[in-house]
C-alpha cells in the first residue's frame, strides 16, 4: 500500500492549505459563523414563547434547543459554498494548473478540498453546540446525540463540499459558484431548518416535506430536543450519506471530464 501514502500526505497537505487560507481570510469564515448565530439568536428571541403556545411545535425545553440544528446546517451550507468558490478561484487563478502540471495525485486534488470542508464543518458544528450550550441549550441525547449531530454535519459538509467542487469544475468561475448561494439559501428556507414542518401550510409545506434538508435537520433536532430513536438517527445519517455520495461522485466525474478536455 505504499502507493496510498503519497495520496494521504498530499490530501493532508492540500486540506491544510485550504483550512489555513480559509482561516486567514475573515470574509471566508465570518459569514458562515455570523449569519447562523445571528439567525439562531433572533429566532430564539422572537419565537421563544412559541413552543407550547403555537400548535405544530414539538415538545421541547426551549426554542434555542430547536434552533441549533438549523444553524449548523446553515453554517455548513455557507462554508461549503465559500469552499466551492475558493476551489473555482484556484482554477481561475492557476493554482489548479500548477497541481495538474505536477505529479500531485488527481484524487488528492478532490479529497484535499473535501477534507478541509469536512474539518471546518465539524469544527463549526461543535462550536455552535458549545455556544448554544453557554446560553442554556442541552443535547437530550447526550454524547451519542452529539456524535449523531456531528456525523450528520460531517456528511452534509462533504455533500455541500462535493456540490461546490462540482460547480467549480463545471463553471471554472468563483463568481458563478458564489452566485449559486441565494439558491442554496432558498433551499434552506424551504425546509424545516428554522420552523417545524407542522406549522407550514399549503404548497410551502409540501415543498419543505420533499426537501432532504428537512430530514437532516429533523434527525439532528431529535437528538437535541428529545425523541430520537435509532431510526431517526439512521434516517438523517442515511440521507446525508446519500447526498454526499451523489455530489462527491459528480465532482469526481467533473474532475475527470475537466482533465480529459484539457489534458
Amino acid at each position: 500500500m505504499t502507493a496510498a501514502i503519497p495520496v494521504i500526505r498530499q490530501t493532508a497537505a492540500l486540506a491544510w492549505r485550504s483550512i489555513v487560507t480559509t482561516i486567514r481570510l475573515p470574509q471566508a469564515w465570518f459569514p458562515a459563523l455570523f449569519f447562523p448565530l445571528v439567525l439562531m439568536a433572533i429566532f430564539t428571541a422572537s419565537f421563544g414563547g412559541a413552543p407550547g403556545t403555537i400548535p405544530g411545535f414539538p415538545p421541547m425545553r426551549s426554542f434555542l434547543d430547536f434552533a441549533v440544528s438549523g444553524a449548523i446546517i446553515q453554517g455548513v451550507l455557507i462554508g461549503g459554498t465559500s469552499a466551492g468558490a475558493a476551489f473555482a478561484t484556484d482554477i481561475e487563478g492557476g493554482f489548479f494548473d500548477r497541481l495538474v502540471a505536477s505529479p500531485t495525485s488527481r484524487t488528492s486534488i478532490l479529497t484535499g478540498r473535501l477534507g478541509a470542508s469536512i474539518a471546518l464543518g465539524v469544527g463549526q458544528a461543535l462550536l455552535f453546540i458549545a455556544i448554544a450550550a453557554i446560553f442554556g441549550a442541552r443535547v437530550d441525547g447526550g454524547l451519542i446525540g452529539i456524535i449523531v449531530v456531528v456525523v450528520i454535519a460531517t456528511l452534509f459538509a462533504a455533500a455541500v463540499g462535493g456540490l461546490g467542487i462540482f460547480l467549480a469544475l463545471r463553471t471554472g468561475s468563483g463568481e458563478a459558484v458564489q452566485g449559486m448561494f441565494p439558491l442554496f439559501f432558498a433551499l434552506l428556507f424551504f425546509s424545516s431548518a428554522f420552523f417545524p414542518l407542522d406549522t407550514m401550510v399549503g404548497w410551502y409545506h409540501d415543498v419543505a416535506a420533499l426537501n432532504p434538508i428537512t430530514y437532516l435537520v429533523e434527525s439532528m433536532r431529535r437528538e437535541i430536543i428529545g425523541g430520537a430513536t435509532i431510526w431517526t438517527a439512521l434516517t438523517g445519517i442515511g440521507i446525508a450519506l446519500g447526498l454526499a455520495l451523489i455530489t462527491v461522485g459528480a465532482s469526481a466525474l467533473a474532475l475527470r471530464r475537466r482533465l480529459r478536455v484539457s489534458a
Binding site: 492549505r17 502540471a101 505536477s102
Partner: protein
C-alpha cells in the same frame, strides 16, 4: 534517453469553432540551453506551453518532453518538468515558505527534505527576508521569483516559463533574467521560455523560435536569425559642403545601398560588419567627403519578425506607435 529536451512533430491544437491556436509545429529544443519562444499575444505560445506541460491535450501530432511522450506518459513528464505559468496566482494568504514546503509534499518529498529545499530555494531567489510574510505583501518581482522557486522544488530537468517577466519593471526583469541564467549555467536546467519581448529573447535565449498565427515563422540562434535579415546597416549623414550623393558614391563600393534609409545622407548594408566600417570611413576621408554623423545598426529580432510576418512585434522599441 534523447538529448532533446523538447521534440514536437506536427503538433496541432484546435479549439472549438475550428480555430487552430497551434497549427502544425515541429520543434526541437536541445538539452542544456535557454530556448526563447517569441511571438505576439495570441500567437499560440501559451497553448504550446500548455500542451508541452501536459495541461492541454494536442488535437494531433506528438510531443516528447524530457524524453517522454506527453500523451502516453504524462505522469513521468510531470515529474521531470518545472512549470511557472503566466499570471499564476499564488495564494496571497500563505507565506512563501509555506508554499514551497507544500509544493515539496505535492512532489512526494520527505518532510525534512521539503524544509531543507525550501530554505535553499528561498536563498537562491533572494526571498529569505520575506519567507515568512504572506505572499499578498510581495511585489510583482518577488512573486515571480517565488513562482520560479516553486517550479524548481523537485529539481526539474526542463523548466517552462510562460512570459515570466510580463508586467515587471525593468529592474525586476533583469533580476529574473540573472536568476534564469544562473539556473541554466550552474544547474544545467534546460529552460523553455515564452516571451513577447524581443529584448528578453535576445538577452536570454541561445536559441529562438518565432511563432505567429500558430506557425513557426523563424527558428535559430538570435545571431543567425539576424544575419539572415542582412548585414548591419551603415548610415552616414553628409556635412560641410558634401552632398548625400557624394556619400552614396563612396559607400556604394562597400555593399548594397538602402535607398531612403537616411535623410541628408546615405546608408549601405555592410557585409563586412564593423571591420568594414573602418574601411568605409577611410574611403570617405580619402575621397574628401565630409560627414557629420555615422552609425552602424545591427539588425534586431524585430527586423526578423518584420521580415517573416510583415508586421512589427509589439513591445519592440522601434515598433512603438
Amino acid at each position: 534517453m534523447s538529448d532533446q529536451a523538447v521534440e514536437t512533430r506536427d503538433l496541432v491544437r484546435e479549439y472549438k469553432g475550428g480555430v487552430k491556436a497551434v497549427d502544425g509545429v515541429s520543434l526541437t529544443v536541445e538539452s542544456g540551453g535557454i530556448f526563447g519562444f517569441l511571438g505576439p499575444n495570441g500567437a499560440g505560445k501559451s497553448t504550446m506551453v500548455r500542451m508541452l506541460t501536459t495541461l492541454l491535450r494536442p488535437t494531433s501530432g506528438t510531443a516528447i518532453v524530457a524524453g517522454h511522450d506527453v500523451m502516453k506518459e504524462p505522469g513521468v513528464v510531470r515529474r521531470r518538468i518545472g512549470v511557472a505559468l503566466q499570471d499564476a496566482a499564488i495564494d496571497p494568504y500563505m507565506t512563501g515558505r509555506e508554499l514551497l514546503r507544500l509544493q515539496g509534499v505535492l512532489h512526494g518529498m520527505k518532510r525534512a527534505d521539503c524544509r531543507a529545499r525550501a530554505d535553499v530555494l528561498l536563498g537562491r531567489v533572494d526571498l529569505e527576508n520575506a519567507a515568512d510574510r504572506r505572499v499578498g505583501t510581495y511585489s510583482g518581482g518577488m512573486r515571480r521569483r517565488l513562482d520560479l522557486a516553486l517550479s524548481l522544488v523537485h529539481e526539474p530537468v526542463v523548466l517552462f516559463l510562460d512570459e515570466p517577466t510580463t508586467g515587471l519593471d525593468p529592474v525586476s526583469r533583469v533580476t529574473l533574467w540573472d536568476e534564469v541564467r544562473r539556473l541554466n549555467v550552474e544547474h544545467g536546467t534546460t529552460v523553455f521560455l515564452t516571451t513577447q519581448y524581443l529584448e528578453e529573447a535576445d538577452q536570454l535565449a541561445d536559441r529562438v523560435a518565432i511563432i505567429d498565427g500558430g506557425l513557426i515563422v523563424a527558428d535559430g540562434t538570435p545571431k543567425a536569425l539576424k544575419a539572415r535579415i542582412g548585414y548591419p546597416l551603415l548610415s552616414v549623414v553628409a556635412a560641410d559642403g558634401s552632398t548625400p550623393d557624394d556619400v552614396a558614391r563612396v559607400l556604394s563600393g562597400f555593399g548594397e545601398m538602402v535607398p531612403g534609409a537616411r535623410d541628408g545622407g546615405a546608408a549601405v548594408r555592410l557585409p563586412g560588419g564593423s571591420t568594414a566600417m573602418a574601411d568605409a570611413v577611410r574611403a570617405l576621408d580619402d575621397a574628401g567627403v565630409r560627414f557629420a554623423e555615422i552609425d552602424l545598426a545591427e539588425p534586431t529580432l524585430d527586423d526578423v519578425f518584420l521580415a517573416s510576418t510583415g508586421r512589427h512585434l509589439a513591445g519592440s522599441d522601434d515598433a512603438t506607435v
